[in-house]
Amino acid sequence: MRDATTATLRRWPRAAVFRSIRGRLLFSILLVAIPIYAGALYMSYQATQSRLEDRAERDADELAARLAAGMDAVIRPIEGGIRTVAAQLEEIDPPRSQYPARIRGILAAWPDVYGSTIAVETGGSGASTQPVAPYLFRRADAIAYSDLALDSYAYRELPWYRRAADSRQPVWSLPYFDAGGGETWMVTYSVPFFRKVPDDGRVLAGVVTADLDLRWLRKTAGSVPLGPAGMGWLASPQAAQTLVTPIGATADRINNFDTALDTEAIRHAGEQMLARKVTLTLLPPDVSAQPAYLAVRNLQTLDWRLMLLLPQAELLADAHALLRRQLWLGAAGLAVLIAAISLVAAAISRPVHALADAVGTASEDNLAFRLPDWQRRDELGVLTDALRRMRDSLQKHIRLRAESLAAEARLEYELQIAASIQQSMLPKNQSAAVPAAVQVAAALLPAKQVGGDLYDYFDSGEHLLFAIADVSDKGIPAALCMARLSALLKMLAVTDPSPDRLLRELNVRFEQDNDACMFVTLGCGLLNVRTGKVLYASAGHEPPLLRARDGTVRQMDVENGPAIGIESVALYPLVETYLAPGDTLVVFTDGVTEAAAQDGSQFGTDRLAALLSDSGDGAPDALVRRIVAAIAANGFRASDDLTVLAISLSPSTVTAHQTELGTNWHMELEISPAGVAQAQLWLRAILAARDVTPDQISEVELIAEELLTNVVRALQTRGGAGGLSLDCAVTPAELVLTVRDDGPQFDPLAHKSPELDSPIDDRDVGGLGIVIVRRLADRCRYARVDGRNVMEIRLHRTRN
């Protein structure tokens, strides 16, 4: 049943009535109830109708019988009376002269009798041979006398006499029209009377009669109550003319009958019924167009037929009225049923609806929905309680979550502050913090808010101390460890900035309180700003990359000591290299080289080196920006803290530029021994950074000193004004020094060399410098160009 309903409901999903429990309950119950109800009603109708029909038929039958009995009851006394007289005559055998008195007695006793006679039997064993038949009858208000024996009224041959005499039984005559007498239709009751004879026989003595005016019969019949429906007649048995007398209100009712009635056909049908001994039948349509019943009875007295015609509709009117009442009751009952179901459904669904309303508003934003506060123990109560518990529990969870989110937000906030503290621990990129001849740029990108990377640099006299460190972790623990390291580094660098000793001491101090067993890789360098010399020591850190002015990148040759914090005592070898002006030193943490792309490949040292090489110039800030951008742009994501520090030496008076052959450094020199000394330092830095052999470096220094010292001396005699520059070009094959000064023309090569072989007393002390220069150089040339002395020295590069 439920499936059928559900299937039905699926076809009508939009009908609003089916959205509620009430509607569906109503629909499904009515879907069952109405057919059952209608079926029951129909069956009841059918049963009731047939029963009522039976009853009606029976009633009709009984009515006919009753009516017949009623008629008989009226007629029978008359019969009785006449038979009494006959019996008296038989008993008493009064003299014939008393006959009129007796007859008068009859008339007096029964006012309905019109006339009566006592006719004597003359033949046979009759007492008298003389016919005697006094006849008394009513005329106007008096009794009239007629003697039937007079004239040739052979009364003995008349039917009224003959029939009774022959049958020796009382007998009613057929109706006849009494022409000479009452001038009306009559029936006569003839009762034979007898006389006893000695041999115990009885012989006919005569016949007593009573004439009944049929008008009386008509009147009697007309007054018989017919009942509320139907029409009836009395009909005489078949004769030359059948007299039919309507009963009761039949005469009026015939007029009201729908169709014309053929009374003769009806009478005929009645006779047939009597012949078949059927008392009630439904008339066929050819007899009565309107369906009607015919009930027929035979009167016991008169041998007349009593016929009752009852239209079926009237007969069944009661039944139909009853049925209609039933139908109305049924409909009313159904309406009550619907109302009751509706109420019940509403009663069920209202709380469900209320619950649905209350909870239906629940959403992500509104969890404080109101629940009905009934105290039910049915399923709705269980549901409501469960919902209540759930809602309260949800609210509690949301509150707890909000608290935890607030705590997280606070933590996030503190981490942001920690990050900014950590940022502020890094050296600010102010030009005052570094020596003038040094350019520094750096970037530190922690993987989380705070990280375990560190870089530092600070001005230490004419040195720049720089350091880069990577704690073996990231996040808060690493940041704390790094803060400690940073403080130690700054403190120790003040007393002894030499990287090897610095790392050794740092390791000792750090390892002492290193309960968390963190280790740190650290690279530390000291750059002498004047000489370009870099002292470097490393504790397990990736070696720095050195970018030459011409773009070639090489890795510094570093021998690593152990990471800080592992060994309680460790030694860190010191490495020495030179940074030529225009060169850049880059230190970084493995967050750079190990930055992973989506395909799993790492950024790598080679890619970093290539990037440094491709950069237009070696300016540190450009390099750092390019490195950071390259990591981000290529989809590399740093899973570790990422730090890079780039340092370049760029004294203001030295410029380096590329030529087709190599790099050329142009130095503007101070016209003083200090300027010469500085030139020597730069030369050493340039040549050492380019892997010129130490001996050749010394030779170049010597050449430079000799040439420059002479020039300085010459210029200083003029007051020290003027310009002096030294160019040093380094190619793979040779070194070229070019000294330019704007003093007065002077070609040192043109002067006569001193005699070196003279005895000591005669030895000339001067001019030795040029001798040295000439001997050490592979080529010397002098030219005077644009008002300047230009001295060019070439040396072939020696290989080790």
Binding site: S698, T709, D757, V765, L768
Partner: protein
């Protein structure tokens, strides 16, 4: 790189030069030589150059001046154990005769003893 001038108290005629002898540092040596040579004539003066890394013409001039001050009076200026770069420069300018270059003081003294003996024997 500065110059360190070490005069052995036990052997005042040996001056050890450490570092660089160039136009910047030569005046220091000049000052010391003035002091050393200003006193009574020295018979010998030895420059211990084993720890001298660098010499320029200014430094050579110091040595030559020292020779000019001592050798005409019969003294000797010797150079001990010069490093190859320094030796090269000395050779270029012929600052000091090969015979005056010794490995160490002992060798110099042996030589001087031998010379004296020769002189004594030759007389």
């Amino acid at each position: 790189m500065p110059l360190k001038i070490v005069v052995e108290p036990s052997d005042p005629s040996t001056i050890a030069l450490v570092g660089r002898l160039d136009s910047t540092t030569a005046p220091e040596l000049d000052a010391v030589l003035d002091r050393v040579l200003g006193s009574s004539g020295k018979a010998r003066l030895a420059f211990d150059l084993s720890q001298l890394e660098y010499i320029s013409s200014a430094g050579v001039r110091c040595i030559v001046r020292a020779r000019k001050a001592i050798e005409p009076r019969g003294g000797k200026v010797a150079v001990l154990n010069p490093q190859p770069p320094v030796r090269k420069v000395l050779d270029i300018v012929k600052a000091i005769p090969h015979g005056s270059i010794f490995k160490d003081v002992a060798e110099l003294d042996d030589y001087l003893d031998a010379m004296q003996k020769k002189v004594r024997d030759g007389e």
